[in-house]
Amino acid sequence: MKINTKGRLSFPGGVHPPESKDLTCESKIRPGPAVKQVAIMLSQHIGAACQPLVEKKQAVQAGQLIGEADAFVSAPVHSPVNGTVKEIALQSHAILGRSMAVIIDADPDNNPPKLPCSEFKDGFDENKYSAQQICDAVREAGIVGMGGAGFPTRVKLEPNPQVPKETMIINGCECEPYITCDYRLMLEWTNQIVAGVKLAKKAAACSEVIIAIEDNKPQAIEVMHTALKTHENGDNIRVVPVKTKYPQGGERQLIKAILRKSVPTGGIPPMIGVLVQNVATAAAIAEAVVTGAPLTHRVVTVTGEAIANPGNYYVAVGTSVGELIEFCGGVTEPSAKIILGGPMMGIAIADLTTPITKTTCAITVLTKEQIGKAKFAGRQTPCIRCGRCLEACPEHINPTKIAHAVKNNLLDVAEDYYISACIECGCCSYVCPANIELTGYIKTGKIFLARQRKKMPE
């Protein structure tokens, strides 16, 4: 049966940046570099940081637990390689600045590259596993949301009697320009994703699952659809194409587009009975439950016009950005911008020893020319109040007002205009004709507010 691959479902606002996905969309997932050293961040997720369970000079095995925390919202970390712990030290972290990491020297003779899981065939039966077994496996494997936020998956999955989850949305939108890792996953690991979806559905006790894919990936839509047909046993799992628009893959926007529901400001999707999981997370769930393997590797898109050999690689978590870039042939331009993630929301880094974490989807390296084309390289001009940022804002707030309030240190005004509702998608900065870094100001304002609150007693 032919499936309609055109999606009209969408949300108000948003922008249409150039997709630039053709650099890597045909590039199959290949094994990453054989690393000499990995740095496993003890904080790769939202929630409490892990405490190291290993000591300096201790020998570790691939898959061994090396960090854990007692807190409910947390996820353990594992070693991706066989080797010895070199030290436990501060390391550059893309979001936190500097953070503790376990640095492991890999044993050069005893480290075969990890290959993608090949266990999954058509007709996976999730009923071999109980919901509790699935949740336990997900917790022990240290799985976190792999789309970028890194919320511990176990916390999301476990049923909450107060707010039962009705719908689970599997996010295969990949709305960020350049990135293709989820697209390749859907094409190549189709059965594994379907298995993961079924397991997650069972664990979370959802009645319905919607796999949302942007309509610029018709092949992925068809492949997923066909795979579900083969697995068909009244599962109530279906593929829904959605309109190609940034930030369609933001969970609040995706829920709005598909279910026409709004997640309350400051709230999370479970409050309205919805659960959103990334396709990569679904694949990780399947592997963890079936083989018991922890999350130690992930697919990373290494892309950008300044990369010699862009592609999708199955990389050990903890590999340094510099090593991965070297593995891809290095950069072709003398001067570049290195971004962890895509160009809309990714974080530009200066330290090439920054390790890949469980949430790193991509490394995008832009050329000097492209940075020059981006207007932020130029001078900011005064706001002409044209209102383009208000039109583009998917959260329907007033970015220019908030940004100027932050600029003038009027944090109360910023709060009054709902600074907390910002999802930092970058649409406002993208469209601004006056080159104002609205998103940057809003992020700064949020940090200032968080600091203020910490100082004040409850």
């Binding site: 949300f11 400001t265 400051g266 981006a374 002409i384 709902y418 509702a421």
Partner: protein, 339 residues
């Protein structure tokens, strides 16, 4: 291998759009009206438009010098002064002396814009502020209308006070004022509806040709330089009030269509009221702003002493724009947070 790595907040790519491109779009939108002005008023048009543009730009440069701006020419690059100059020129009578045009331009930029802090900070539309100043200082010059060069002898060349005159031509709205006073004679004005389409009527430089203004407005809408809210709100509210008056007494009040096509209504709807700096940010606010502008225009035209009213309507609504913006604050997509 990697030197000079740039670090900056996301996003790292951006839409190829700048204030300059926005202003150039407005200038292109105004080209149609400028061509019409050049066709009907010949040399007058050329002299006035170039005078206003040059003196506006020069004023901004001088103000930058006075403010000790380290790069006094940098802000000229956004072409906002050029736009102000063109709009001012298009909204003054063709026979305005050059010296008066210079005074108007200097006031527009210096007092209308630069004293507030330059582009983006002004409260009032600079061109309208300049025009208001000219109207207050040189009332007679601002209400003397020359005959379009293409107009042949068959049109009655009468001035607003109904005396025969060979060189001046009353605007349709000046006639309509006469009609309101005498409660008769609106047909003379309504009959000119066809002439207003091409622009073969008396009036300010850029306001006469409906066709040119519509083309320019359409261009801005297609380019998404402006959105439909403000023009639609202005025109709808003006036509509603005009229709009410027309239905009450068609002999005293001219038809709504004539109101829409004369006296700079379209220039206002597409180019003046849509000035982003002085208009509200939110959609609801834009509608309030547009409805208010249209209503005040009609109030002045029907009840007030002035025949036109666009200028005062825009200036008055500019003054309440900050209030509108504060009143119609956006509510986030997920509703107000429970704090």
């Amino acid at each position: 291998m990697l030197k000079n790595i740039t670090v900056s907040p996301a996003p790292h790519i951006s839409k190829p759009l700048s204030t300059r491109t926005v202003m150039i779009d407005v200038i292109i939108g105004l080209v149609f009206a400028m061509i019409a002005a050049g066709y009907y008023f010949r040399l007058y048009a050329l002299i006035l438009i170039s005078t206003c543009v040059i003196s506006s730009v020069a004023t901004e440069w001088l103000c930058n010098l006075i403010r000790k701006n380290p790069k006094p020419t940098e802000s000229l690059g956004d072409f906002s002064a050029v736009v102000t100059g063109i709009i001012l020129a298009l909204s003054v009578p063709p026979s305005l002396p050059v010296w008066a045009a210079i005074i108007g331009s200097v006031f527009s930029i210096a007092i209308g814009k630069m004293v507030f802090g330059g582009l983006g900070c002004n409260i009032f539309n600079p061109a309208m502020a300049g025009r208001a100043f000219l109207t207050a200082c040189f009332g007679v010059l601002m209400t003397t209308w020359t005959v379009p060069a293409t107009l042949d002898a068959k049109m009655p060349k009468i001035s607003a006070d109904n005396t025969l005159s060979a060189v001046t031509q009353a605007t349709p709205l000046a006639w309509s004022k006469q009609a309101i006073k005498t409660k008769t004679g609106t047909h003379t004005v309504n009959d000119q509806i066809q002439a207003t389409l091409t622009g073969e009527i008396g009036g300010c430089l850029g306001e006469t040709s409906t066709l040119a203004l519509l083309l320019g407005g359409l261009y801005l809408l297609i380019r998404r330089t402006i959105n439909l809210h403000i023009p639609l709100a202005v025109l709808l509210s003006a036509s509603v009030f005009a229709a009410i008056a027309y239905l009450i007494n068609p002999d005293a009040y001219i038809s709504p269509l004539t109101h829409l096509t004369t006296g700079g209504m379209l220039l206002c709807a597409f180019f003046i009221a849509t000035d982003p700096v002085t208009a509200p940010l939110t959609t609801k606010g834009m509608w309030i702003f547009g409805i208010g502008t249209g209503a005040i225009i009609m109030l002045i035209r029907i009840v007030g002493e002035y025949p036109e009213g666009v200028m005062y309507a825009v200036l008055l609504m500019n003054a309440v724009t900050p209030l509108i913006d504060r009143f119609y604050k956006l509510v986030p997509a997920g509703g107000k947070p429970n704090v």
